[in-house]
Structure formats: structure tokens, C-alpha cells
Symmetry: C2
Subunit: 379 residues, 2 copies
């Protein structure tokens, strides 16, 4: 396997842009990533594109406008983990030696193509009965509170922190501070989760340019290396189980730690899939950063804020930076690349050398997610 | 790069099955492919799934039922080339050494999820004006007739042949003979293309089990080797061009011939993307089997029938076997595997040692396709 580096990242700001074209946002992210890399675009040998609701051959429409048409392109769908799956595919195609350089893009325009909390199809009795994402994670939150004593204030602290981080991020959908009281006082979506504890729908795009060591010789700045790229899917086991822990996250993290030779203690900054405040807490535990039940107190103590012991979601996370589902995974990676290069401006995490991005998506049955990725990046 | 073999294939019959579940058809194809391979399903390390209209995380729903949940899964979309792109992804992940064995699946249920000739989105003026697939290929047919003297009878001969082949294929959507007169007398869809010259909408699934040389030691029968797996996308060049020739087919074929060391003269059997009768003619030329303009006379002469010089679409092709768009590419490959193993029954091509599958999908702008694959298989 070849060593693969990320040599350029770019984003179209997340937000609600119903009057833009989806392709337009994708082009902006790719152009920025290519400019950032300094790599001649003709070196790009393959492209992987994550998207959910944009219809057929979305990626090709972007490439055509970029002047990159003709190269192999793989459109990828893994629900909320579509962009990070595209990164995994691009990584594997460079790591394998098939290509010297690749472009990974994630894009979504939920304001035009996807409404609300996205039922997976009308054949699911669960969904027909209203058991969509907020309902599922509300149950998980209640169980986490029961088992570990996690409090409403701790849940709200995740939202306060991520909104504070989002204020510092020019690419974030929401750039506004909120207090614990405001978070808890916002409308209830699925008790105990209030509006400000749920990731919003939105539009946007994010891209990364990847290459092997030889191609990296010609780039603008030192690569951020992909030390591990792991994709898992859910096991959808039925029967009694611990709903406050995600098996596919634990498996992906264990594999990523083994491949990279890093453990949670070596990681300086994390982007984690905070679809809801409770998600950040339980994923931060499943990823090994805190013992089970200590994710909530950690958020409340400031340990997961920029300047804290282990900053989580300096970008603002899904809750504040936003969550255009096909773009999120690469927005996380763009944030880590900026952090590891020391280019994150006001939200810079001091001494960030190693970062971890965790993304998950899709519900098939029960509480398991359909796809989960963990990427470990090192400067 | 590791050598990769196909060790099992399976299909759910193509047809119109609005009362079945999409997942159900996918499971049937996978179960058949796994049984055919004799490989322990626990050896499968990764899965790539081609689908267009089935919604989010389609593949995971199939894996869950197969007892394969948990392994990395990549849902892939490249319009009518989705299944062959899934095969390309699965091939690349085994060829790279990332995994020892992979499952590739393509599935679609157009009778429930996709209507008619699928506009790519309402933002295309071309599509709004009715310039969908039949219209585009009707223009191409007229130009081919003007440039090369291709006749209506030659176009119809492709349909007569493919319907005859379809009669011999238990997995085909249509199993009925037609005469030249019946083909030309069927309703006009887009002049000069009549109903029986157009691939139908339909439902179905096809799957393949791939593995490297080491894993192949434990399988039921000798692998069919993937000598080349090539994916290209269109260049969407505007301005005057020859609309009777597809640049992305020519580039994919040239690369596949170079990688495999085979030329058209070495190929014994072909599955080609006959979305319309004219498509088979022009692709058979672009793939190098006939000089430009000789594809029509070849079809009329019987050279492309089973028993002819170079049999094309012994499965019945898209026109007769059917074209559930996310499944087609792997149905082509299943047919070639059966042919190369000598298991194609009444439609067996004598002495078939090397086969070629060509698939293409999607329109972005003008007449170029979005994605094109060429696979060369050898027993």
C-alpha cells in the first residue's frame, strides 16, 4: 500500500442556498481544493463523489465544468457518511497504486432536494410510525441519562460549545452564540432533544485532493498524511443491546488505531459526527476518548472546547457548521487539515499534530447506522 | 496489483416485479453468486453495490439479510453503468490487496422507483424539451444511416437477433421471437427507432463474487479472470463532432486492450450496451470489432448471432434480457462468466475463452455518456 497524503482542501460554505445550483457549490469546493494543493489538475487520475439526493451522475456534471471530464468517476452514496466514503474510495485507489492523485468531493443541497429528517423509504414501519433520527437519538439520550447520570445541562453544553466554535468558522451555517438556557429553552424536537441540539438541514460542498509521495513532490505545502482510512457497516443485531454504544464506531476506531499505531491519547483534535448533542457524547466515548458515561461531564467541564484537553468539533460540528449530508465527511477532513497545518485562524487548536474524523450515516433497522468511517490524519 | 478472478455469479431474473421488494431481488442474486462460488461468505471483506433509484443505503439492507452485515460497503451510482462501476470498485479493492474477496451487486426496481426514460433533473433545458435517451439515439441512428448507409433493416436485425438470444435465456425479461417486419412495424418511439428497438424498463439484480489467487484456492470451479477493468467518463465537448462514435468507449476499449494484451481479434463473445439497436451497432464499431459503418451489415449477415463470427449479446442484451439500470453491468458479466465456463446452455458460444463487457450510462450534456466501463474476462 502506498502512503497517501491530503495536499489540498476546499469548501463551499454550508448554509441554505436554494437559489444556487448543486453543481456550482461542488465546483467551488473543488476549485479551492485544487488551488490549495498547487497540483496541476491534469495529475488527477480519478474522482470519487459523495452525494445523496442530487440525482444521477452528479459528479460528472461537476467534472465537466472543472475541465476534468473524461477521468474515471465513482459516485458514492452512504447516507450521512457519503463524503467520508468517497474519501475512503479515493484513498484506496491511490493507496493501491491504481492512481497517483485523486479528487474526493462531497456535496448536497437539502434545501432543494431533501426535506426534513429523510425517511429511508416508505416500506419501513418504524419510519412510518415516526421513528426517524431525532426520535432514535432521543431514546439513546434518555438511556444514556439513565445509565450514566448524563444531565440535560451536559447535553446542552455540547451545543453551546459547538455553536461557539461555529462563530469562529467562516464556513459554518450558524455563527451565533447560545447559552445553556437558550439551548434547553428552544423548541423540543424529540424529548429531551431541543432544536439547538439537532443538526440542521443545509447545503454545501467540501473537497480534498489526495496523492501519493511522488505526486506530493510538486505541491504547495507539506501533505497531511492519511494514517488510517476505515469504513464499517452496521450489524443490525436485534434483541437486547446497549443502545448508548455504537458497535460500528468501536470497530472502525479499533481498526484505525491498529493501522495507524496511534491511540486516543495521541490524538490532538477530533471532528465527530454530532448529528445530535447526545451523538457527540457517546461517539467521544466509543472512540476511546472518555470512559463510558464521562462524555457528558467532559463537555460540561470545557475539556472538549478549543483550549481544552481534547478539543472536539472545532469547526462547530454538524450542529453549528451544518450537515448537508453528502458533504459533511469531507468538511470534517478539511477542518482537520487546516488545524494540522496551523491554518485554522481563531479556532486553531494549539499543537495539533494528529487528528481524527468520525462520520456515520443511515439507519437500516433498529439503532445501528448503515455506514461508519474513521480517518486518522497526521501532519 | 493482484490478479482478480470472478468465482461466482448470480441473478434475479429481469422483468417487471412491482410486488417484490428491491432488497429481495438483491438477496437472491447474492445468494446465487455465493452458492455458485462455493466460497465461505465470511471470506467476503468488502461489498460494492450499484443502484440508481432505490434510495439511501440500499446495499446495507441486502447485506443485513445475507448475514454479511458489518463489512465495509460502498453504494455506487453511475446511471446505467452503476453495476459495472460497482464491479470496477470491487475489482480495484481486491487488485490493490486491500481485501482478499469482494461481493459486487447491481439491483434496480424501475417498476416501483423510476418511471420511463428518466430525466436527469429538471434543470436541463435539453430534457425539458424532450431530448431524452430515445431522442438522442434516434438522431445518432439517422446520422449513422446518412454517413454509412446503415438501413432500417440492419437496425431491426439487431433486435431480431437479441430477441432470439433472449428466448434462450431463462433470466431474460422478454423471451419472444420477432421478425424484421414486426420490429419495424412496432410503434415509433423516436423515428427511426421503434418500440422493439429500445431497451425496456424493468426490475432485477445481478451479483458477482471476486477474489485473489489465494482465496480462489477454496472455490468450487476455476475462476474467470478479470484481465482488464476500465472506467472512463465523458468529455462533454461541445461544437461539431462525430455523433456516431463515442470517445469514452474508444478510450476505455483502448486501455482495456493495452492492459489485457488482448485485441478485438482475440475476443470470442461480447456483451455490449444495446440501449437501442443503433447503440449495439456503433459500440461494436467503437470497440474495434468492425470498421466504422460495417456494424449494421454485420448484424444483418448473422456475424453477430450465436454461431456467427463474433457473437454479440448472447444474453439477449438490454433490448431483450432487459435493462434494470442499476443491475445491467453485472448481468452482462454473469452472462460472460457462464459463457466462458461453458455453462450457457442453448445459447452457448462454442469455444468461448475470452469475453468483453461494455456498459455505459448517463447523459450530462450533448451526446456524451457520463460513464463507460470495459471489462475483459478470460477463463
Amino acid at each position: 500500500m502506498e502512503k497517501v497524503g491530503i495536499v489540498g482542501v476546499g469548501m463551499h460554505r454550508f448554509g441554505k442556498f436554494p437559489d444556487l445550483g448543486l453543481t456550482e457549490m461542488g465546483i467551488e469546493a473543488c476549485v479551492q481544493a485544487l488551488l490549495d494543493s498547487g497540483l496541476d489538475k491534469k495529475r488527477i487520475g480519478v474522482c470519487a463523489v459523495g452525494n445523496v439526493g442530487g440525482g444521477m451522475v452528479v459528479g460528472q456534471k461537476v467534472l465537466a465544468e472543472l475541465g476534468l471530464a473524461g477521468i474515471p468517476l465513482i459516485n458514492v452514496e452512504n447516507a450521512c457518511a457519503s463524503a467520508s466514503t468517497a474519501l475512503h474510495v479515493a484513498w484506496s485507489l491511490v493507496a493501491s497504486g491504481c492512481y497517483g492523485a485523486a479528487l474526493a468531493l462531497g456535496l448536497e443541497q437539502m434545501s432543494r432536494t431533501i426535506e426534513g429528517t429523510i425517511p429511508l423509504g416508505t416500506d419501513s414501519l418504524e419510519l412510518q410510525m415516526g421513528m426517524m433520527m431525532p426520535g432514535k437519538f432521543a431514546l439513546v439520550a434518555r438511556k444514556h441519562m439513565e445509565l450514566y447520570g448524563t444531565t440535560l445541562k451536559q447535553l446542552a453544553a455540547v451545543s453551546v460549545k459547538n455553536h461557539h466554535h461555529g462563530v469562529l468558522n467562516p464556513f459554518a451555517q450558524y455563527r451565533k452564540e447560545f447559552t445553556i438556557e437558550q439551548v434547553l429553552g428552544s423548541p423540543v424536537i424529540a424529548d429531551p432533544l431541543t432544536l439547538l441540539q439537532c443538526s440542521p438541514t443545509g447545503d454545501g460542498a467540501a473537497a480534498a485532493v489526495l496523492c501519493n509521495v511522488r505526486e506530493a513532490a510538486g505541491v504547495s505545502q507539506p501533505p497531511v498524511w492519511i494514517e488510517a482510512s476505515v469504513l464499517t457497516s452496521g450489524t443490525y443485531e436485534t434483541g437486547p443491546r446497549d443502545v448508548t454504544s455504537y458497535d460500528q464506531t468501536r470497530r472502525a476506531a479499533a481498526a484505525a488505531y491498529e493501522i495507524s499505531g496511534c491511540g486516543p491519547e495521541d490524538i490532538d483534535v477530533i471532528e465527530v459526527h454530532d448529528g445530535f448533542t447526545i451523538s457527540e457524547i457517546l461517539h467521544s466515548e466509543d472512540l476511546g476518548f472518555f470512559p463510558k458515561g464521562e462524555g457528558g461531564p467532559a463537555a460540561e467541564s470545557g475539556a472538549t472546547s478549543i483550549g481544552g484537553k481534547i478539543p472536539i468539533n472545532p469547526s462547530g460540528g454538524l450542529v453549528s457548521r451544518g450537515h448537508p449530508i453528502g458533504a459533511t465527511g469531507l468538511a470534517q477532513v478539511a477542518e482537520l487539515v487546516w488545524q494540522l497545518r496551523g491554518q485554522a485562524g481563531q479556532r486553531q487548536v494549539d499543537g495539533a499534530n494528529i487528528g481524527l474524523a468520525h462520520c456515520m450515516g443511515g439507519l437500516v433497522q433498529g439503532l445501528d447506522a448503515a455506514a461508519c468511517t474513521v480517518h486518522i490524519l497526521k501532519r
